[in-house]
């Protein structure tokens, strides 16, 4: 290099100073941001069932082929109705449990007689695709005990949830990973 002999030294010193400042600044900035609220836990996505309008996007927009969102049932809220509007379409061909009479496109709801006149509706997780048809039926005409939730054994916890982007009701938000569900509880209505 044909610079004056002092320059490389000065440059090297400057570079070292910059490096030290950069490393310290970065470390400080990230640690500061992470510690800002005195909580450093992980966060995961969840949808707020009180906002959800069961539009059907949950089934199709998840990055997984089989959506991470599935229907769940708060049994304590359920009326155990015989004519469940989450199970039967508004005009059932007949009140039998054949697939053609069910609202669920995959037959994921299991109807079981409990005692006269009550029936229990359980979601078969492996079949549910999270389309929200039953949710719509249940919240429009029933107790709203069927609703959608991100299932955390399936969710990849994408940095930007693809469903959150597509959700018309902005129902998705980040929740602490140690309390990752927004479950509906009886008597607690929005």
């Amino acid at each position: 290099m044909d610079n004056p002999p002092t320059t490389p030294n000065r440059r090297r010193f400057l570079a070292t100073a910059l490096r030290a400042a950069g490393a310290l600044g970065l470390g400080g900035l990230t640690a500061g941001l992470a510690a800002k609220r005195g909580r450093t836990g992980e966060y995961v996505w969840q949808l707020d069932p009180q906002k959800c309008i069961a539009c059907g996007n949950c089934a199709t927009y998840c990055v997984l082929d089989e959506s991470a969102v599935k229907c769940v049932h708060s049994f304590a809220m359920c009326g155990y109705c015989d004519l469940c509007t989450g199970y039967f379409p508004p005009e059932p061909i007949e009140q039998r449990t054949g697939a053609e009479n069910q609202l669920c496109p995959t037959g994921a709801i299991q109807r079981a007689f409990i005692e006269d006149p009550y029936f229990e509706y359980r979601i078969l997780r492996d079949r549910c695709i999270g389309c929200g048809k039953c949710v719509k039926g249940c919240s429009a005409f029933g107790n709203g005990s069927l609703y959608l939730q991100v299932q955390h054994d399936r969710c990849l916890n994408c940095n930007e949830c693809a469903i959150a982007v597509a959700c018309p009701s902005q129902a998705f938000r980040r929740v602490p990973a140690d309390d990752p569900y927004l479950l509906k509880v009886r008597g607690k209505q929005a």
């Binding site: 992470a34 609220r37 309008i53 769940v72 009326g79 015989d82 006269d116 299932q151 940095n159």
Partner: protein
């Protein structure tokens, strides 16, 4: 109707048969029931608007039936995140050792594949340091978002390592880099002017990513990640086309994403400029064979400069002075342009979009409703609150857009100045910002190979004279 009427109604338990069906009438409509039924539906619809999930049918009190629990499988334990972090630290250390000290291209290649397998295919591309830029930005601007420590570390560690060893993260840790490294089979030379011009795209992309995450609008980097779909082995048709074209492009243009889009690459490039131990081609023994220049698929080798005639030198100085005067003008111009762009920029924000659509619907400018406006009406929130929120967002987009424009002006002006400053080089050197430390240049260098043959143990950092 007859068949249905036999069904006891849960609402009237203890009162015998149900007198009035709660369900919608079936096919057997009976004259006046149509009206009643419709009224009933309307009533239900209205009532469910006010309270989305009223207890219309009191849940029964079973004596001997145990209610099942709501299914809520736990989130995977944070152990995975800490394992990722441990892997990142180990891989960064190993990559730096392999690139700078051990000088092993083969080692870097293998490590790249391991990283691709771990961070890419096993952990399915999330969490990644490129995307972490957005989390950090969001945490800086949004007080309700808490930045997970692992995410913060995922951004900070590669940057700090780059400060000392150059872009060894890009060489063998980044899964996106590894994919492109694997497909770079027939890299063509991109003309330097085009290379520099396209390089500006990455700056713009970084600016946009920061803008949209600061306003809490979107995580662009994640949305348009070209390879994450492969990692998850699922993607939409449009993303598939996008990803495949990047893959095919990557055969002919080395690392197109890294060089022309990656926002982290911009930051890493700047950190790498002042790195302490950056990979070096053995420069003291350079025989000007130009093999390194040929070997680098990313156009990162800078060639020795020739002596400039004095007339050119004077002209160059004048141009530089002009560009320095131009810089503030570009910045101000950029600010104005960015501010003018606030509306189209803000339209990416779901709240702004909703407010706009809702306003149009209310004033009869458009017919029909959308899912979003329906959902908004359902909440019963006053429209004014929505408009106020959208207006304040638009205000922040004005400022953010202006700053973004000014930043783009600065980048363009800075690039022009950078290009017109002449640096003297006597041998072939990797450009510290552009070099991803892949190791091909010294791997192919005859001087290095001779060194390996004569004294393998001596090869490495210790024998390389410190060059600044």
């Amino acid at each position: 109707m007859k068949r249905l009427r036999r069904v006891p109604c849960p609402r009237l338990r203890g009162h015998g048969k149900c007198r009035k069906r709660r369900s919608l009438p079936t096919r057997a409509w009976a004259g006046h029931r149509i009206g009643v039924g419709i009224l009933f539906i309307v009533f239900l619809c209205i009532s469910c608007r006010i309270s989305p999930a009223a207890e219309r049918f009191p849940p029964p009190d079973f004596t001997d039936h145990q209610l099942p629990a709501t299914q809520a499988p736990a989130a995977p334990s944070p152990v995975y995140e800490y394992a990722d972090l441990a892997f990142l630290i180990a891989a960064l250390g190993l990559a730096s050792y392999l690139a700078v000290r051990r000088r092993s291209r083969r080692g870097l290649f293998v490590l790249g594949i391991v990283s691709l397998a771990w961070l890419g295919f096993w952990r399915e591309g999330c969490i990644c340091p490129i995307g972490a830029i957005q989390n950090v930005t969001l945490a800086a601007f949004n007080s309700t978002y808490v930045l997970p420590l692992t995410v913060a570390a995922f951004l900070a560690l590669p940057l700090i390592v780059t400060l000392f060893f150059g872009r060894t993260f890009c060489a063998a840790v980044c899964p996106l880099g590894a994919v492109q490294e694997l497909v770079a089979l027939k890299p063509l030379r991109v003309p330097p002017w085009l290379d520099q011009a396209l390089g500006l795209l990455a700056y713009v992309y970084l600016g946009l990513a920061v803008l949209f995450s600061a306003t809490g609008t979107a995580f662009l980097i994640c949305r348009y990640d070209p390879f994450v779909g492969f990692f998850r082995r699922s993607m939409g048709a449009d993303m598939l086309v996008f990803s495949l074209s990047f893959l095919v492009l990557g055969i002919f243009i080395g690392r197109p994403y890294c060089r022309y889009l990656c926002p982290l690459g911009v930051l890493l490039g700047w950190f790498s400029r002042i790195s302490q131990w950056h990979v070096k081609i053995p420069p003291d023994r350079c025989i000007q064979c130009r093999l390194c220049e040929e070997a680098c698929p990313y156009g990162a080798i800078r060639t020795p400069t020739t002596v400039q005639p004095p007339a050119d030198h004077r002209r160059g100085r004048r141009r530089l002075a002009l560009l320095i005067v131009l810089l503030p003008i570009l910045i101000v111009l950029g600010f104005g342009l960015g501010w003018m762009l606030r509306q189209p920029l803000a339209r990416l924000n779901p709240t702004v979009r909703l407010a706009e659509r809702f306003y149009q619907e209310q004033t009869g400018r458009v017919q029909g409703t959308t899912g979003a406006t329906d959902a908004f009406r359902n909440t019963g929130r006053p429209a004014d609150a929505l408009y106020a929120e959208a207006r304040s967002l638009l205000g922040s987009f004005g400022l953010a857009g202006g700053l973004f424009g000014a930043y783009v002006g600065l980048v363009v002006g800075g690039k022009l100045i950078y290009l017109s400053v002449r640096r003297r080089r006597t041998d072939y050197q990797p450009d510290r910002a552009a070099c991803v430390s892949c190791g091909r240049c010294f791997w192919y260098c005859p001087a290095e190979q001779a060194l390996w043959k004569n004294n393998p143990a001596a090869c490495g950092l210790a024998t390389m004279p410190e060059k600044t």
